[in-house]
């Protein structure tokens, strides 16, 4: 399976993602933001970081970068596009995913482990994961998901909510909502479920000496489902 990780100026989780993808069997290549074309891939990843310094608004300049047209074409033709953290912000800026990511409710950057509940397994990203709740890691300042009531109704009706913040038992209450996200939303799909954006970083949880190992389940499923 071939994957491509896009490097924007200011990306800083590109290497971590490269390490994770390769560890679970992807043939990964790094693609520079100023390239016109993406090499043939089964998966495109927009990694975390501060693309273009997150100036103007998180992800907004990356959403207009040269490479992004190819990402959009790839996504519209059904290709898998995964955006983590800043990558999720970029996906909402391009309009590939609905809604926006605002500053965290308590106005601080948060770096810690969180639990997320998998809300929909009818897709390639979570299909074969047996667990219902994953322990993942967040590190962001703008992860507070928001969308209009109409959009919310539409993403709920279409099963577009991918993962939500919860406790270890799967309770999605306000106490376990680290950033004030609407309906505890930590990640969403597009209608066709080939695009996933999420704030938590599975690539930081891929071996027992790191913060945890549930990220491994995510990547194992991904390579098996493709």
């Amino acid at each position: 399976m071939k994957s491509s990780v896009i490097i924007f100026p200011g990306s800083n989780c590109d290497r971590d993602m490269d390490v994770a993808l390769k560890k679970f069997g992807f043939k990964n290549q790094m693609v520079w933001h100023n390239d016109a074309k993406i090499p043939k891939s089964d998966l495109i990843v927009l990694p975390g970081g501060f693309s273009y310094g997150d100036y103007l608004r998180c992800g907004s300049i990356a959403g207009k970068s040269r490479i992004i047209k190819s990402v959009i074409d790839f996504a519209n033709s059904g290709g898998l596009v995964l955006g983590i953290c800043n990558g999720f912000q970029i996906l909402t800026e391009t309009g590939l995913l609905p809604g926006i990511l605002q500053q965290n409710k308590y106005l601080n950057f948060i770096c810690k482990n969180v639990f997320v509940k998998i809300k929909n397994k009818e897709n390639k990203y979570f299909k074969k994961i047996k667990k219902e709740v994953l322990e993942l890691h967040i590190a962001h300042n703008e992860g507070n998901y928001f969308c209009s009531n109409d959009e919310l109704k539409s993403i709920e009706d279409n099963g577009q909510i991918a993962v939500t913040y919860c406790d270890h038992g799967g309770n999605e209450d306000e106490k376990n909502n680290p950033n004030g996200a609407l309906k505890n939303i930590a990640g969403i799909f597009n209608k066709d479920k080939n695009i996933l954006g999420m704030m938590p970083h599975p690539e930081r949880m891929i071996d027992p000496f790191l913060s945890g190992e549930d990220g491994s389940l995510f990547f194992k499923n991904l390579i098996e489902s493709l």
């Binding site: 800083n12 501060f50 997150d54 100036y55 950057f109 770096c111 590190a139 891929i206 790191l210 913060s211």
Partner: protein, 731 residues
């Protein structure tokens, strides 16, 4: 053009006799640009004029030392072809005036020092000190500093893996912000600042030069007064995004062979970077200031030379490599300009619009910079307190413990480090909140441990002992995570060196640091000095911060401090005399602020540490935590809180005062957790080496208990410990 005279020189922070020396050296009156250059090079921050004499005594040699003090950062060997580049630096004065930018640019500056040497930064640490929690400014300063450190480090994508925070009223008018960075480099590909060769192009890269930070280094060498807010324009403004690009571009250029020398523009900007490169290479340098990329219009040569705009580098390239280098900086959208060349004149010569605007022999600025042998007084060891039995009569262990766990200097600092990205780069295997932070050396079995320590209270009570103690504590932190201690970097934060008492504190702390680091073979390889931490005649307590690093050859053997399994034994290694003077207990519970700090016995320190290493090598230890502030009971509580498991303490033997035993801050001690089946073996080994130890208790249940004296559930103590800072910050 402004006419230079003594009055203007004094306004530049120079002393009257220093100005006379300049005129004598030049045999004429300097023009304003030259005066600016002299004032920047001769201030305390750049010239170390009060400290140089004493810094020479530091222990800086060792078989792992590749580069000691004098470069952008120190470098140590960590086996194979790997080396660690590291340094700590202060950004105290700017952080008090403008906490966010001050702290942010402190982080940016220290990272540049590290990647200037060809290393990719792999971990950040910090040591931050604030005034009393009751002081009106403390909350906002803390919030701003933490946001600044996070804002910069998080954006660059380097994990902040450990740190230290303290509160003391002596910092009310002078907070301390010390930032440390570790970088990884191939030991055959280290870059230095020494220029070599004549007619080599001098290249400016990075951000454009603006008017920010002009005279920053002079400000950092001044005492504060009521008008300090007026200094705001001298604080630099950071742009971590540009620094990230600069980092990637420099590392890309360094992969080739075109760089002769490279130096970041830190304090005193273009002035000190160009002069240092030329001075080290025994060369001259010629710069055309018209070619310097400027952000603002009509900048004068004076402003260009003294600007401290961030994210800039100066490079001496091999001839003919300009285009190759420019391509890389173009790719990363960074400014690139050939602004001058090296010469054999041994002068710095500045041109602007085809006119020569300055010409100074480099010797005058570097080697001839003033050096002072300041007067100092030796501190006396304070008299011990004789606590009477009555003072303890009405006290209960449980109440004391609860109060100590919410002491601002003990309470959990999660509110701070949760705002720092501590897991990016995917190699953090011990997060903040433990004995030390640990990151793997990417792609290998090795890991590097790092911590920052300081104990101003001890240094204030007796600087010589305090200096020794900080180095020992750092060493202990390395041992406690299973790392072999390698070397340290020091950030020496002191008051006004022109006062004999302050100067004495400096001299004796340095002496203590030297003695301990020599004995423990834990050399100092880099550092910086920050004097004049004084506001309205009130100086800070002497605060040397020691950043230590250690090596784990197999990261899987790392130790942590959380308790592992019920039924295991807890032992304390090292003798507990019950030293309460200067302890958190004495201050917080007995309201006693005088007395000597705990004695530091270097022989015992080394013996005890090496014995922990031996036990660990034989796989006989499950958990290790060094005993520091708050003594044994505080240490055990933290271990319990981290794991959610309790401890049943054994009754004390004989007539020991339990408060002294459990809260005393005797040095050189570790608490270890041992499996029952290993206990005999461990005891035998300790006896054989004549190491003093006590059996403390059993890991058991979810409470900390001691017969009828103490019964506290872990949940109960956890709440206060975990919430103090969070609640303080929202109130």
């Amino acid at each position: 053009m402004i006419e230079v005279n003594e009055k203007i020189a004094i306004e530049h922070g120079l002393k009257s006799d220093e100005y006379k020396k300049i005129c004598n050296l030049l045999k004429r009156t300097p023009n304003i640009t030259e005066l600016g250059v002299f004032s920047a090079m001769w201030n305390e921050h750049c010239s170390y004029k009060s400290s140089r004499k004493h810094l020479k005594k530091l222990h800086t040699k060792g078989d792992k030392v590749i580069q000691g003090p004098g470069e952008n950062a120190g470098v140590v060997d960590i086996e194979d072809d790997d080396a660690i580049v590291f340094k700590i630096e202060s950004h105290n004065h700017p952080s008090f005036i403008e906490p966010y930018q001050g702290a942010a640019t402190g982080v940016g500056g220290i990272m540049r020092d590290v990647f200037t040497m060809g290393a990719r930064p792999i971990a950040n640490l910090n040591s931050i000190h604030f005034g009393s929690p009751d002081h009106e400014k403390t909350r906002n300063l803390l919030r701003g500093v933490v946001k600044g450190i996070g804002g910069y480090g998080n954006c660059i994508g380097v994990p902040t893996i450990a740190g230290q925070t303290s509160f003391d009223e002596s910092y009310n008018g002078n907070i301390l912000v010390n930032a440390m960075t570790l970088g990884l480099v191939n030991k055959n590909k280290i870059f230095y600042s020494k220029a070599a060769g004549i007619n080599k192009p001098v290249i400016y890269v990075g951000s454009k030069t603006g008017r920010d930070g002009i005279h920053g280094a002079s400000m950092a060498s001044a005492i504060f007064d009521d008008k300090i807010e007026e200094k705001k324009p001298t604080v630099q403004v950071g742009d971590p995004f540009t620094e990230k690009l600069l980092l990637e571009a420099c590392l890309e250029l360094m992969a080739g062979k075109s760089i002769i020398s490279i130096q970041d523009m830190g304090a005193a900007g273009l002035t000190s970077s160009s002069i240092e490169m030329a001075s080290k290479g025994d060369l001259g340098i010629e710069i055309d200031l018209t070619k310097v990329p400027c952000r603002e219009e009509n900048m004068t040569p004076y402003e260009i030379m003294l600007s401290e705009s961030q994210e800039r580098m100066l490079i001496v390239l091999e001839e003919g490599k300009e285009n190759e280098a420019k391509k890389i900086f173009d790719k990363w959208n960074l400014d690139f300009a050939v602004i001058g060349k090296t010469t054999n004149s041994k002068n710095i010569e500045l041109f602007f619009k085809n006119e020569k605007v300055a010409g100074i022999p480099i010797d005058f600025l570097a080697e001839n910079a003033p050096m002072y042998d300041r007067k100092w007084i030796k501190a006396k060891l304070p008299k011990e307190n004789n606590f009477s039995k009555n003072q303890f009569k009405s006290l209960k262990l449980s109440d004391c413990l609860k109060r100590i766990l919410i002491d601002p200097n003990i309470a959990d600092k999660e509110w701070i480090w949760e705002q720092y990205d501590h897991t990016v780069m995917g190699d953090t295997i011990q997060k903040p909140g433990g004995n030390a932070g640990v990151v793997r050396v990417h792609g290998t079995n090795k890991a590097v441990a790092a911590s920052v320590d300081s104990s101003a209270t001890y240094c204030h009570a007796h600087p010589l002992t305090g200096g020794k103690q900080v180095v020992c504590e750092s060493w202990r932190n390395m041992i406690s995570v299973g790392a072999k201690p390698i070397a340290i970097t020091n950030c020496l934060n002191f008051g006004n060196p022109e006062k004999e008492k302050n100067m004495g504190e400096f001299v004796e702390c340095v002496e203590g640091i030297t003695e301990a680091s020599k004995y423990l073979n834990y050399p100092v390889v880099s550092g910086n000095v920050s004097f004049y931490n004084e506001t309205k005649d009130k100086g800070i307590k002497p605060t040397p911060s020691i950043g230590g690093i250690g090596l784990l050859s197999n990261y899987k053997e790392m130790m942590t401090m959380e308790l592992k399994n019920e039924g295991n034994y807890l032992l304390v290694i090292g003798k507990t005399e019950g030293h309460l003077d200067q302890s958190v207990f004495a201050r917080n519970i007995l309201s006693e602020f005088n007395g000597p700090p705990p004695e530091v016995n270097l022989f015992n320190e080394k013996q005890n540490g090496m014995c922990v290493v031996n036990l660990k090598n034989k796989n006989l230890i499950e958990t290790c935590h060094d005993v520091s502030l708050g003594g044994i009971l505080t240490a055990i509580s933290k271990m319990g809180i981290k794991s959610g498991i309790g401890v049943k303490l054994f009754p004390l033997e004989g007539l020991v005062n339990k408060f002294e035993y459990f809260f005393g801050e005797d040095q050189g001690r570790y608490i270890i957790e041992v499996k029952p089946e290993n206990l005999e073996n461990v005891e035998n080994m300790l006896k054989k080496d004549s190491i003093h130890f006590d059996k403390l208790g059993l890991v058991q249940g979810n409470k900390i208990t001691l017969e009828n004296d103490l019964k506290l559930s872990i949940d109960d103590i956890k709440e206060g410990y975990k919430n103090w800072l969070k609640e303080y910050m929202v109130n």
